[in-house]
Protein backbone atom coordinates (compact mmCIF):
# COMPACT_ATOMS: atom_id res chain seq x y z
CA UNK A 1 0.00 0.00 0.00
CA UNK A 2 2.92 2.32 0.68
CA UNK A 3 4.10 1.86 -2.92
CA UNK A 4 0.60 2.68 -4.22
CA UNK A 5 0.45 5.81 -2.05
CA UNK A 6 3.90 6.86 -3.25
CA UNK A 7 2.88 6.47 -6.89
CA UNK A 8 -0.41 8.33 -6.42
CA UNK A 9 1.44 11.30 -4.93
CA UNK A 10 3.90 11.16 -7.81
CA UNK A 11 1.05 11.37 -10.34
CA UNK A 12 -0.22 14.63 -8.87
CA UNK A 13 3.19 16.14 -8.07
CA UNK A 14 3.74 17.68 -11.51
CA UNK A 15 0.24 19.08 -12.16
CA UNK A 16 0.18 20.54 -8.64
CA UNK A 17 3.49 22.30 -9.23
CA UNK A 18 2.41 23.37 -12.69
CA UNK A 19 -0.82 24.91 -11.41
CA UNK A 20 0.66 26.59 -8.38
CA UNK A 21 3.12 28.85 -10.16
CA UNK A 22 2.48 32.36 -11.32
CA UNK A 23 4.57 35.10 -12.80
CA UNK A 24 5.52 36.04 -9.25
CA UNK A 25 6.42 32.78 -7.59
CA UNK A 26 5.89 29.05 -7.31
CA UNK A 27 4.18 27.68 -4.20
CA UNK A 28 6.88 26.42 -1.86
CA UNK A 29 5.22 23.15 -0.81
CA UNK A 30 4.30 21.98 -4.32
CA UNK A 31 7.77 22.88 -5.57
CA UNK A 32 9.25 20.88 -2.71
CA UNK A 33 6.93 17.94 -3.42
CA UNK A 34 7.78 17.91 -7.11
CA UNK A 35 11.50 18.22 -6.39
CA UNK A 36 11.36 15.33 -3.93
CA UNK A 37 9.77 13.06 -6.52
CA UNK A 38 11.80 14.41 -9.45
CA UNK A 39 13.75 11.31 -10.56
CA UNK A 40 10.69 9.04 -10.29
CA UNK A 41 8.30 11.47 -11.99
CA UNK A 42 10.68 12.46 -14.76
CA UNK A 43 12.09 9.10 -15.70
CA UNK A 44 8.68 7.40 -15.71
CA UNK A 45 7.41 10.22 -17.94
CA UNK A 46 4.80 11.36 -15.44
CA UNK A 47 5.84 15.02 -15.64
CA UNK A 48 2.76 16.45 -17.33
CA UNK A 49 0.56 19.36 -16.37
CA UNK A 50 -2.39 18.03 -18.44
CA UNK A 51 -3.04 21.46 -19.90
CA UNK A 52 -4.92 20.23 -22.98
CA UNK A 53 -6.26 23.29 -24.86
CA UNK A 54 -5.89 25.26 -21.65
CA UNK A 55 -6.17 27.89 -20.45
CA UNK A 56 -7.43 28.83 -23.95
CA UNK A 57 -7.01 27.30 -27.39
CA UNK A 58 -4.18 29.34 -28.91
CA UNK A 59 -2.70 30.15 -32.31
CA UNK A 60 -0.67 27.44 -34.05
CA UNK A 61 2.99 27.78 -34.87
CA UNK A 62 4.71 26.61 -38.00
CA UNK A 63 8.29 26.67 -39.17
CA UNK A 64 9.23 28.02 -42.56
CA UNK A 65 12.57 27.07 -44.10
CA UNK A 66 14.38 29.05 -46.79
CA UNK A 67 17.51 28.11 -48.66
CA UNK A 68 20.51 30.41 -48.18
CA UNK A 69 21.46 31.70 -50.71
CA UNK A 70 17.86 31.84 -51.95
CA UNK A 71 16.81 29.51 -54.75
CA UNK A 72 14.12 31.95 -55.90
CA UNK A 73 14.25 35.80 -55.76
CA UNK A 74 10.71 35.86 -54.31
CA UNK A 75 12.04 33.99 -51.33
CA UNK A 76 14.64 36.61 -50.48
CA UNK A 77 12.05 39.14 -49.32
CA UNK A 78 11.79 39.53 -45.56
CA UNK A 79 8.74 38.02 -43.93
CA UNK A 80 6.63 40.37 -41.86
CA UNK A 81 3.56 39.84 -39.78
CA UNK A 82 1.67 42.51 -41.75
CA UNK A 83 2.30 40.85 -45.13
CA UNK A 84 0.14 37.81 -45.98
CA UNK A 85 2.29 34.73 -46.29
CA UNK A 86 1.77 32.16 -48.97
CA UNK A 87 3.76 29.17 -47.95
CA UNK A 88 4.30 27.82 -51.46
CA UNK A 89 5.61 31.20 -52.62
CA UNK A 90 7.55 32.45 -49.63
CA UNK A 91 9.40 29.43 -48.24
CA UNK A 92 11.16 26.36 -49.64
CA UNK A 93 9.76 24.04 -47.02
CA UNK A 94 7.59 24.25 -43.94
CA UNK A 95 6.22 22.07 -41.26
CA UNK A 96 3.80 20.79 -40.26
CA UNK A 97 2.87 20.07 -43.88
CA UNK A 98 -0.12 17.84 -44.67
CA UNK A 99 1.09 17.11 -48.18
CA UNK A 100 4.53 15.76 -47.33
CA UNK A 101 3.97 14.50 -43.78
CA UNK A 102 1.58 11.59 -43.85
CA UNK A 103 0.05 9.69 -42.06
CA UNK A 104 -1.45 12.11 -39.62
CA UNK A 105 0.66 10.95 -36.68
CA UNK A 106 3.83 11.85 -38.58
CA UNK A 107 2.35 15.27 -39.37
CA UNK A 108 1.56 15.72 -35.70
CA UNK A 109 5.14 14.90 -34.71
CA UNK A 110 6.38 17.78 -36.88
CA UNK A 111 3.62 20.01 -35.55
CA UNK A 112 4.81 19.37 -31.99
CA UNK A 113 8.38 20.20 -33.00
CA UNK A 114 7.38 23.54 -34.50
CA UNK A 115 5.41 24.36 -31.33
CA UNK A 116 8.41 23.35 -29.22
CA UNK A 117 10.70 25.55 -31.32
CA UNK A 118 8.41 28.51 -30.84
CA UNK A 119 8.10 27.88 -27.10
CA UNK A 120 11.88 27.72 -26.83
CA UNK A 121 12.29 31.13 -28.43
CA UNK A 122 14.42 33.68 -26.59
CA UNK A 123 15.11 37.07 -28.24
CA UNK A 124 18.51 37.84 -29.73
CA UNK A 125 18.89 40.93 -27.55
CA UNK A 126 17.37 42.33 -24.41
CA UNK A 127 16.09 45.88 -24.02
CA UNK A 128 18.42 48.11 -22.02
CA UNK A 129 16.11 48.29 -18.98
CA UNK A 130 16.07 44.49 -18.66
CA UNK A 131 19.86 44.29 -18.71
CA UNK A 132 19.97 45.81 -15.22
CA UNK A 133 18.37 42.71 -13.72
CA UNK A 134 21.22 40.19 -13.46
CA UNK A 135 18.97 37.23 -12.65
CA UNK A 136 16.85 37.98 -15.68
CA UNK A 137 19.93 38.32 -17.90
CA UNK A 138 21.29 35.03 -16.62
CA UNK A 139 18.04 33.24 -17.39
CA UNK A 140 17.86 34.84 -20.81
CA UNK A 141 21.43 33.74 -21.62
CA UNK A 142 20.62 30.11 -20.82
CA UNK A 143 17.47 30.17 -22.90
CA UNK A 144 19.16 31.94 -25.80
CA UNK A 145 21.98 29.37 -25.76
CA UNK A 146 19.45 26.56 -25.94
CA UNK A 147 17.46 28.29 -28.66
CA UNK A 148 20.64 28.78 -30.70
CA UNK A 149 21.56 25.10 -30.32
CA UNK A 150 18.05 24.09 -31.37
CA UNK A 151 18.16 26.39 -34.39
CA UNK A 152 21.56 25.00 -35.44
CA UNK A 153 20.35 21.43 -35.11
CA UNK A 154 17.14 21.88 -37.10
CA UNK A 155 18.91 24.06 -39.70
CA UNK A 156 21.57 21.41 -40.28
CA UNK A 157 18.95 18.71 -40.77
CA UNK A 158 16.84 20.86 -43.08
CA UNK A 159 19.88 21.96 -45.11
CA UNK A 160 20.67 18.30 -45.61
CA UNK A 161 17.10 17.55 -46.66
CA UNK A 162 16.90 20.54 -49.03
CA UNK A 163 20.44 19.91 -50.29
CA UNK A 164 21.34 23.51 -49.58
CA UNK A 165 24.53 25.09 -48.23
CA UNK A 166 22.58 26.50 -45.32
CA UNK A 167 19.02 27.47 -44.47
CA UNK A 168 17.13 30.13 -42.58
CA UNK A 169 14.39 29.14 -40.14
CA UNK A 170 11.36 31.37 -39.82
CA UNK A 171 8.85 31.11 -37.02
CA UNK A 172 5.30 31.51 -38.29
CA UNK A 173 2.09 31.98 -36.38
CA UNK A 174 -1.40 31.20 -37.62
CA UNK A 175 -3.97 33.33 -35.86
CA UNK A 176 -7.26 31.98 -34.62
CA UNK A 177 -10.06 33.29 -36.79
CA UNK A 178 -13.26 34.66 -35.32
CA UNK A 179 -16.73 33.51 -36.36
CA UNK A 180 -17.16 36.88 -38.05
CA UNK A 181 -13.98 36.52 -40.13
CA UNK A 182 -15.06 33.10 -41.38
CA UNK A 183 -18.80 33.53 -41.87
CA UNK A 184 -19.13 37.24 -42.69
CA UNK A 185 -15.81 38.11 -44.32
CA UNK A 186 -15.41 34.72 -46.00
CA UNK A 187 -11.89 33.87 -44.81
CA UNK A 188 -10.88 30.24 -45.11
CA UNK A 189 -9.03 28.68 -42.19
CA UNK A 190 -5.79 28.61 -44.20
CA UNK A 191 -6.18 32.19 -45.41
CA UNK A 192 -2.71 33.74 -45.94
CA UNK A 193 -3.93 36.83 -44.09
CA UNK A 194 -4.10 34.76 -40.92
CA UNK A 195 -0.47 33.68 -41.17
CA UNK A 196 2.34 35.95 -40.02
CA UNK A 197 6.06 35.78 -39.36
CA UNK A 198 7.27 36.14 -35.80
CA UNK A 199 10.16 38.51 -35.24
CA UNK A 200 13.46 37.67 -33.59
CA UNK A 201 13.14 40.89 -31.59
CA UNK A 202 10.30 40.30 -29.18
CA UNK A 203 9.26 43.89 -28.65
CA UNK A 204 8.81 45.22 -32.16
CA UNK A 205 5.99 43.10 -33.47
CA UNK A 206 3.67 45.35 -35.47
CA UNK A 207 0.54 43.42 -34.47
CA UNK A 208 1.62 42.81 -30.93
CA UNK A 209 -1.13 45.01 -29.57
CA UNK A 210 -3.89 43.14 -31.41
CA UNK A 211 -5.92 40.28 -30.06
CA UNK A 212 -5.26 37.27 -32.32
CA UNK A 213 -8.87 36.10 -32.30
CA UNK A 214 -10.69 39.37 -32.83
CA UNK A 215 -8.04 41.65 -34.29
CA UNK A 216 -9.08 44.23 -31.72
CA UNK A 217 -6.50 46.24 -29.74
CA UNK A 218 -5.78 44.47 -26.46
CA UNK A 219 -4.11 47.16 -24.46
CA UNK A 220 -0.47 47.58 -23.63
CA UNK A 221 2.17 46.35 -26.06
CA UNK A 222 3.14 42.79 -25.33
CA UNK A 223 4.49 39.79 -27.22
CA UNK A 224 1.94 37.69 -29.08
CA UNK A 225 3.59 34.50 -27.95
CA UNK A 226 4.71 34.28 -24.37
CA UNK A 227 8.38 33.41 -24.10
CA UNK A 228 9.23 30.32 -22.06
CA UNK A 229 11.30 32.44 -19.73
CA UNK A 230 9.09 34.42 -17.46
CA UNK A 231 9.25 37.97 -16.33
CA UNK A 232 7.01 40.10 -14.23
CA UNK A 233 7.31 43.82 -13.98
CA UNK A 234 10.78 43.58 -15.45
CA UNK A 235 12.00 41.22 -12.76
CA UNK A 236 13.18 37.74 -13.48
CA UNK A 237 12.01 34.70 -11.55
CA UNK A 238 14.99 32.70 -10.29
CA UNK A 239 15.85 29.67 -12.37
CA UNK A 240 15.11 27.11 -9.67
CA UNK A 241 11.57 28.42 -9.28
CA UNK A 242 10.79 27.61 -12.89
CA UNK A 243 12.86 24.46 -13.24
CA UNK A 244 13.06 22.91 -9.77
Amino acid sequence: MACIAFHCIAIVAEPLRFFSQSEYQSAAETTWLRRSFAPYVEWLYLDHGYFFFAPNPGPSHLMGVRRVPPSDPARSQPIHADRPIELARDVDAYFPNRQSQWPRLLYHRYFMLSEFYNNSFAPAELPEEDKQDLLFVDRWKQDRTFYDALTRSISRAMAHQLQSESVELIRLERQLLSIEQVHRLGWTLDDPRGLGGLPENLFTHPNADRDPSSGEPKGPLRPRSEPPWRRSEGRAIPEEVIHP
Binding site: F53, P55, N56, L105, S153, R174, L176, H183, L189
Partner: protein, 344 residues
Protein backbone atom coordinates in the same frame (compact mmCIF):
# COMPACT_ATOMS: atom_id res chain seq x y z
CA UNK B 1 -34.67 25.03 30.50
CA UNK B 2 -31.21 23.76 31.16
CA UNK B 3 -28.78 22.69 28.38
CA UNK B 4 -28.83 19.13 29.61
CA UNK B 5 -32.34 18.68 28.17
CA UNK B 6 -30.96 19.10 24.65
CA UNK B 7 -27.45 17.72 24.78
CA UNK B 8 -26.50 14.15 25.27
CA UNK B 9 -24.00 13.59 28.01
CA UNK B 10 -20.34 13.88 27.05
CA UNK B 11 -19.12 10.47 25.84
CA UNK B 12 -16.26 9.13 27.86
CA UNK B 13 -12.82 9.69 26.38
CA UNK B 14 -12.21 5.95 25.99
CA UNK B 15 -15.34 5.35 23.86
CA UNK B 16 -14.50 8.35 21.64
CA UNK B 17 -11.01 7.04 20.96
CA UNK B 18 -12.46 3.58 20.32
CA UNK B 19 -14.82 5.09 17.73
CA UNK B 20 -11.94 6.84 16.00
CA UNK B 21 -9.88 3.67 15.93
CA UNK B 22 -12.87 1.75 14.59
CA UNK B 23 -13.46 4.37 11.91
CA UNK B 24 -9.78 4.23 10.90
CA UNK B 25 -9.92 0.45 10.74
CA UNK B 26 -13.02 0.59 8.53
CA UNK B 27 -11.32 3.13 6.31
CA UNK B 28 -8.20 0.96 6.04
CA UNK B 29 -10.29 -2.12 5.19
CA UNK B 30 -12.22 -0.22 2.52
CA UNK B 31 -9.00 1.06 1.02
CA UNK B 32 -7.59 -2.47 1.08
CA UNK B 33 -10.66 -3.82 -0.72
CA UNK B 34 -10.55 -0.98 -3.24
CA UNK B 35 -6.95 -1.64 -4.21
CA UNK B 36 -6.43 -5.32 -3.45
CA UNK B 37 -9.69 -7.29 -3.78
CA UNK B 38 -8.89 -9.86 -6.48
CA UNK B 39 -10.48 -9.49 -9.91
CA UNK B 40 -10.06 -11.09 -13.30
CA UNK B 41 -8.23 -9.45 -16.17
CA UNK B 42 -10.72 -9.23 -19.06
CA UNK B 43 -10.71 -5.41 -19.07
CA UNK B 44 -6.92 -5.26 -18.80
CA UNK B 45 -6.69 -7.72 -21.70
CA UNK B 46 -8.82 -5.44 -23.90
CA UNK B 47 -6.51 -2.55 -23.01
CA UNK B 48 -3.46 -4.73 -23.78
CA UNK B 49 -4.82 -5.56 -27.24
CA UNK B 50 -5.37 -1.93 -28.22
CA UNK B 51 -2.39 -0.35 -26.47
CA UNK B 52 0.00 -2.87 -28.01
CA UNK B 53 -1.34 -2.08 -31.47
CA UNK B 54 -0.85 1.64 -30.83
CA UNK B 55 2.72 1.08 -29.65
CA UNK B 56 3.45 -0.86 -32.83
CA UNK B 57 1.94 1.95 -34.90
CA UNK B 58 3.84 4.69 -33.03
CA UNK B 59 7.15 2.96 -33.74
CA UNK B 60 6.19 2.24 -37.36
CA UNK B 61 5.81 6.02 -37.77
CA UNK B 62 9.22 6.71 -36.20
CA UNK B 63 10.68 4.09 -38.56
CA UNK B 64 9.01 5.64 -41.61
CA UNK B 65 11.12 8.80 -41.27
CA UNK B 66 13.98 7.42 -39.19
CA UNK B 67 16.75 9.69 -40.49
CA UNK B 68 14.80 12.81 -39.48
CA UNK B 69 14.43 11.62 -35.90
CA UNK B 70 17.68 9.73 -35.29
CA UNK B 71 21.20 9.66 -36.66
CA UNK B 72 23.73 12.31 -37.67
CA UNK B 73 21.19 14.37 -39.67
CA UNK B 74 18.39 14.23 -37.11
CA UNK B 75 16.27 17.33 -36.51
CA UNK B 76 17.29 17.20 -32.86
CA UNK B 77 20.94 16.33 -32.51
CA UNK B 78 22.57 14.86 -29.44
CA UNK B 79 23.69 18.30 -28.20
CA UNK B 80 20.09 19.50 -27.99
CA UNK B 81 18.90 16.25 -26.41
CA UNK B 82 21.63 16.41 -23.77
CA UNK B 83 20.83 20.03 -23.14
CA UNK B 84 17.19 19.10 -22.44
CA UNK B 85 18.33 16.23 -20.23
CA UNK B 86 20.74 18.42 -18.26
CA UNK B 87 17.79 19.80 -16.29
CA UNK B 88 15.74 16.63 -15.84
CA UNK B 89 16.18 12.92 -15.17
CA UNK B 90 15.47 11.51 -18.63
CA UNK B 91 18.18 8.94 -19.11
CA UNK B 92 18.01 7.00 -22.37
CA UNK B 93 20.70 5.05 -24.15
CA UNK B 94 19.49 6.61 -27.41
CA UNK B 95 20.98 9.92 -26.24
CA UNK B 96 24.48 8.49 -26.18
CA UNK B 97 24.77 7.50 -29.83
CA UNK B 98 23.68 8.88 -33.18
CA UNK B 99 24.01 5.53 -34.89
CA UNK B 100 21.12 4.98 -37.28
CA UNK B 101 21.63 1.21 -37.09
CA UNK B 102 21.11 1.19 -33.33
CA UNK B 103 18.07 3.43 -33.69
CA UNK B 104 16.65 1.12 -36.37
CA UNK B 105 17.24 -1.97 -34.22
CA UNK B 106 15.65 -0.23 -31.26
CA UNK B 107 12.57 0.87 -33.17
CA UNK B 108 12.08 -2.52 -34.83
CA UNK B 109 12.36 -4.22 -31.42
CA UNK B 110 9.82 -1.80 -29.98
CA UNK B 111 7.43 -2.35 -32.88
CA UNK B 112 7.70 -6.14 -32.60
CA UNK B 113 7.17 -5.90 -28.84
CA UNK B 114 4.00 -3.90 -29.52
CA UNK B 115 2.75 -6.52 -31.97
CA UNK B 116 3.55 -9.33 -29.50
CA UNK B 117 1.74 -7.39 -26.79
CA UNK B 118 -1.36 -7.13 -28.97
CA UNK B 119 -1.28 -10.81 -29.78
CA UNK B 120 -0.70 -11.60 -26.13
CA UNK B 121 2.48 -13.53 -26.80
CA UNK B 122 4.88 -13.91 -23.87
CA UNK B 123 3.24 -10.94 -22.20
CA UNK B 124 5.37 -11.11 -19.05
CA UNK B 125 8.32 -10.27 -21.28
CA UNK B 126 6.84 -8.30 -24.19
CA UNK B 127 4.69 -5.80 -22.25
CA UNK B 128 7.68 -4.56 -20.16
CA UNK B 129 9.81 -4.59 -23.31
CA UNK B 130 7.24 -2.49 -25.22
CA UNK B 131 7.04 -0.05 -22.30
CA UNK B 132 10.82 0.24 -21.86
CA UNK B 133 11.65 0.71 -25.55
CA UNK B 134 8.84 3.26 -25.96
CA UNK B 135 10.06 5.11 -22.87
CA UNK B 136 13.61 5.22 -24.26
CA UNK B 137 12.32 6.70 -27.51
CA UNK B 138 10.18 9.19 -25.60
CA UNK B 139 13.18 10.48 -23.65
CA UNK B 140 15.20 10.85 -26.86
CA UNK B 141 12.44 12.56 -28.85
CA UNK B 142 10.63 14.52 -26.13
CA UNK B 143 9.90 17.64 -28.25
CA UNK B 144 7.94 15.53 -30.76
CA UNK B 145 5.57 14.06 -28.17
CA UNK B 146 2.01 14.90 -27.15
CA UNK B 147 -0.93 13.45 -25.21
CA UNK B 148 -0.90 10.21 -27.19
CA UNK B 149 2.52 9.28 -25.84
CA UNK B 150 1.54 10.22 -22.29
CA UNK B 151 -1.52 7.98 -22.21
CA UNK B 152 0.04 5.09 -24.15
CA UNK B 153 3.09 4.93 -21.89
CA UNK B 154 1.02 5.22 -18.72
CA UNK B 155 -1.35 2.43 -19.79
CA UNK B 156 1.54 0.14 -20.73
CA UNK B 157 3.25 0.82 -17.40
CA UNK B 158 0.15 -0.23 -15.47
CA UNK B 159 -0.51 -3.22 -17.73
CA UNK B 160 2.85 -4.60 -16.63
CA UNK B 161 1.44 -5.00 -13.12
CA UNK B 162 -1.62 -7.08 -14.01
CA UNK B 163 -2.13 -10.39 -15.79
CA UNK B 164 -3.24 -8.80 -19.03
CA UNK B 165 -2.17 -11.85 -21.03
CA UNK B 166 -4.66 -14.26 -19.47
CA UNK B 167 -7.52 -13.57 -21.91
CA UNK B 168 -7.73 -13.36 -25.71
CA UNK B 169 -4.06 -14.07 -26.11
CA UNK B 170 -1.60 -16.58 -27.49
CA UNK B 171 -0.44 -17.04 -23.90
CA UNK B 172 -3.86 -18.31 -22.82
CA UNK B 173 -3.99 -20.64 -25.85
CA UNK B 174 -0.56 -22.06 -24.95
CA UNK B 175 -1.61 -22.46 -21.31
CA UNK B 176 -4.73 -24.42 -22.33
CA UNK B 177 -2.73 -26.67 -24.65
CA UNK B 178 -0.20 -27.30 -21.89
CA UNK B 179 -2.83 -28.17 -19.32
CA UNK B 180 -4.62 -30.46 -21.79
CA UNK B 181 -1.37 -32.34 -22.34
CA UNK B 182 -1.13 -32.94 -18.58
CA UNK B 183 2.49 -31.81 -18.39
CA UNK B 184 3.86 -29.38 -15.82
CA UNK B 185 4.64 -25.93 -17.10
CA UNK B 186 8.43 -25.41 -16.88
CA UNK B 187 9.88 -22.46 -14.97
CA UNK B 188 11.10 -20.63 -18.08
CA UNK B 189 7.59 -20.76 -19.55
CA UNK B 190 6.17 -19.25 -16.38
CA UNK B 191 8.55 -16.32 -16.81
CA UNK B 192 6.95 -15.64 -20.19
CA UNK B 193 3.46 -15.60 -18.72
CA UNK B 194 2.33 -19.01 -19.99
CA UNK B 195 1.62 -20.32 -16.52
CA UNK B 196 -0.63 -17.48 -15.39
CA UNK B 197 -4.14 -18.53 -14.51
CA UNK B 198 -7.19 -16.46 -15.49
CA UNK B 199 -8.46 -16.60 -11.92
CA UNK B 200 -9.00 -13.39 -9.92
CA UNK B 201 -5.78 -11.78 -8.72
CA UNK B 202 -4.98 -8.70 -6.63
CA UNK B 203 -2.38 -7.41 -9.12
CA UNK B 204 -5.18 -6.95 -11.67
CA UNK B 205 -7.01 -4.76 -9.17
CA UNK B 206 -3.92 -2.64 -8.45
CA UNK B 207 -3.37 -2.07 -12.19
CA UNK B 208 -7.06 -1.25 -12.73
CA UNK B 209 -7.27 1.19 -9.81
CA UNK B 210 -4.07 3.00 -10.77
CA UNK B 211 -5.30 3.51 -14.34
CA UNK B 212 -8.65 4.74 -13.02
CA UNK B 213 -7.05 7.16 -10.57
CA UNK B 214 -4.58 8.41 -13.16
CA UNK B 215 -7.45 9.14 -15.56
CA UNK B 216 -9.25 11.07 -12.83
CA UNK B 217 -6.11 13.16 -12.24
CA UNK B 218 -5.78 13.87 -15.98
CA UNK B 219 -9.37 15.06 -16.32
CA UNK B 220 -9.44 16.98 -13.05
CA UNK B 221 -6.36 19.03 -13.88
CA UNK B 222 -7.43 19.31 -17.52
CA UNK B 223 -10.68 20.86 -16.32
CA UNK B 224 -9.04 23.09 -13.72
CA UNK B 225 -6.61 24.38 -16.36
CA UNK B 226 -9.51 25.30 -18.61
CA UNK B 227 -11.16 27.24 -15.79
CA UNK B 228 -8.32 29.75 -16.12
CA UNK B 229 -9.23 30.59 -19.70
CA UNK B 230 -11.94 33.04 -20.71
CA UNK B 231 -12.83 31.09 -23.86
CA UNK B 232 -14.05 28.20 -21.72
CA UNK B 233 -16.27 30.60 -19.83
CA UNK B 234 -17.73 32.60 -22.71
CA UNK B 235 -18.38 29.46 -24.76
CA UNK B 236 -16.04 30.19 -27.69
CA UNK B 237 -13.39 27.57 -26.88
CA UNK B 238 -15.07 24.93 -29.04
CA UNK B 239 -15.05 27.26 -32.03
CA UNK B 240 -11.40 28.25 -31.64
CA UNK B 241 -10.23 24.69 -30.95
CA UNK B 242 -12.15 23.13 -33.81
CA UNK B 243 -11.26 25.77 -36.38
CA UNK B 244 -7.52 25.79 -35.80
CA UNK B 245 -6.28 24.98 -39.30
CA UNK B 246 -3.28 22.94 -38.17
CA UNK B 247 -5.51 20.63 -36.12
CA UNK B 248 -8.55 20.50 -38.37
CA UNK B 249 -9.27 17.27 -40.24
CA UNK B 250 -13.01 17.64 -40.95
CA UNK B 251 -14.76 20.95 -41.46
CA UNK B 252 -16.46 22.15 -38.29
CA UNK B 253 -16.82 25.82 -39.22
CA UNK B 254 -20.60 25.31 -39.54
CA UNK B 255 -20.70 25.33 -35.74
CA UNK B 256 -20.14 29.08 -35.97
CA UNK B 257 -23.61 29.43 -37.52
CA UNK B 258 -25.10 28.09 -34.29
CA UNK B 259 -23.21 29.89 -31.50
CA UNK B 260 -25.46 28.36 -28.84
CA UNK B 261 -24.37 24.89 -29.96
CA UNK B 262 -20.68 25.77 -29.68
CA UNK B 263 -21.29 27.32 -26.29
CA UNK B 264 -23.18 24.28 -24.96
CA UNK B 265 -20.47 21.94 -26.29
CA UNK B 266 -17.78 24.08 -24.62
CA UNK B 267 -19.50 24.14 -21.25
CA UNK B 268 -20.47 20.46 -21.41
CA UNK B 269 -16.83 19.54 -22.07
CA UNK B 270 -15.64 21.71 -19.20
CA UNK B 271 -18.20 20.36 -16.72
CA UNK B 272 -17.56 16.78 -17.79
CA UNK B 273 -13.79 17.14 -17.26
CA UNK B 274 -14.21 18.85 -13.89
CA UNK B 275 -16.70 16.38 -12.46
CA UNK B 276 -15.33 13.21 -14.06
CA UNK B 277 -13.44 12.47 -10.85
CA UNK B 278 -16.70 12.30 -8.90
CA UNK B 279 -19.29 11.08 -11.41
CA UNK B 280 -17.33 8.16 -12.89
CA UNK B 281 -17.56 6.09 -9.67
CA UNK B 282 -21.34 5.77 -9.02
CA UNK B 283 -22.91 3.09 -11.20
CA UNK B 284 -25.80 5.43 -11.95
CA UNK B 285 -23.74 8.17 -13.59
CA UNK B 286 -20.88 6.05 -14.98
CA UNK B 287 -22.55 5.17 -18.32
CA UNK B 288 -23.34 8.83 -18.92
CA UNK B 289 -19.76 9.91 -18.15
CA UNK B 290 -18.37 7.18 -20.42
CA UNK B 291 -20.75 8.17 -23.23
CA UNK B 292 -19.57 11.74 -22.89
CA UNK B 293 -15.95 10.51 -23.05
CA UNK B 294 -16.71 8.76 -26.35
CA UNK B 295 -18.34 11.93 -27.71
CA UNK B 296 -15.53 14.29 -26.65
CA UNK B 297 -12.62 12.06 -27.68
CA UNK B 298 -14.45 10.85 -30.77
CA UNK B 299 -14.93 14.49 -31.75
CA UNK B 300 -11.23 15.19 -31.20
CA UNK B 301 -10.35 12.15 -33.30
CA UNK B 302 -12.69 13.01 -36.17
CA UNK B 303 -12.54 16.79 -36.34
CA UNK B 304 -9.18 17.70 -34.87
CA UNK B 305 -6.98 15.20 -36.63
CA UNK B 306 -5.83 13.44 -33.47
CA UNK B 307 -7.29 10.05 -34.28
CA UNK B 308 -4.62 8.20 -32.35
CA UNK B 309 -4.94 10.32 -29.22
CA UNK B 310 -8.75 10.35 -29.27
CA UNK B 311 -8.83 6.59 -29.76
CA UNK B 312 -6.41 5.89 -26.91
CA UNK B 313 -8.36 8.10 -24.50
CA UNK B 314 -11.54 6.18 -25.34
CA UNK B 315 -9.63 2.94 -24.78
CA UNK B 316 -8.33 4.22 -21.43
CA UNK B 317 -11.89 4.99 -20.35
CA UNK B 318 -12.82 1.34 -20.91
CA UNK B 319 -11.00 0.61 -17.64
CA UNK B 320 -14.23 1.57 -15.91
CA UNK B 321 -16.07 -1.30 -17.62
CA UNK B 322 -16.31 -4.25 -15.24
CA UNK B 323 -14.56 -7.52 -16.27
CA UNK B 324 -17.93 -9.31 -16.00
CA UNK B 325 -19.32 -7.20 -18.85
CA UNK B 326 -16.57 -8.44 -21.18
CA UNK B 327 -17.12 -11.99 -19.92
CA UNK B 328 -20.79 -11.81 -20.87
CA UNK B 329 -19.97 -10.41 -24.33
CA UNK B 330 -17.38 -13.17 -24.79
CA UNK B 331 -19.95 -15.81 -23.83
CA UNK B 332 -22.50 -14.35 -26.27
CA UNK B 333 -19.97 -14.40 -29.11
CA UNK B 334 -18.96 -17.98 -28.24
CA UNK B 335 -22.61 -19.05 -28.40
CA UNK B 336 -23.14 -17.23 -31.68
CA UNK B 337 -20.18 -18.92 -33.35
CA UNK B 338 -21.05 -22.50 -34.37
CA UNK B 339 -18.64 -25.06 -32.93
CA UNK B 340 -16.10 -26.60 -35.27
CA UNK B 341 -16.78 -30.22 -36.37
CA UNK B 342 -14.17 -31.69 -34.03
CA UNK B 343 -15.68 -29.76 -31.06
CA UNK B 344 -19.19 -31.19 -31.47
Amino acid sequence: MSRSHFESPEPPLVSRSTAIVSWLNDWRDSLGRFFLEPRTAETLSVLRLTTGAMIAYIHAIWLSDLASFFGPDALLDLEVTRSIHSRVTKWTYLASTDSLTIAWLHEVTAMLAGIAMTLGFATRLTVPLAWFTTLMTAHRLAPFLFGLDQITLSLTMYLMLGRSGTFWSIDSWIRKRWSQSGKDIPAWARWLGWGEQPSPCWTNTVATRLIQLHLCVIYLFGGLGKLRGWMWWDGTAMWFAATSYEYQSLDLTWIGLYPWLGSIATHATLLWELFYVALIWPRLTRPLVLMMAVCVHGGIALYMGMITFGWMMIVANLIFVEPSWWRRRDAEISLAVPPRPNER
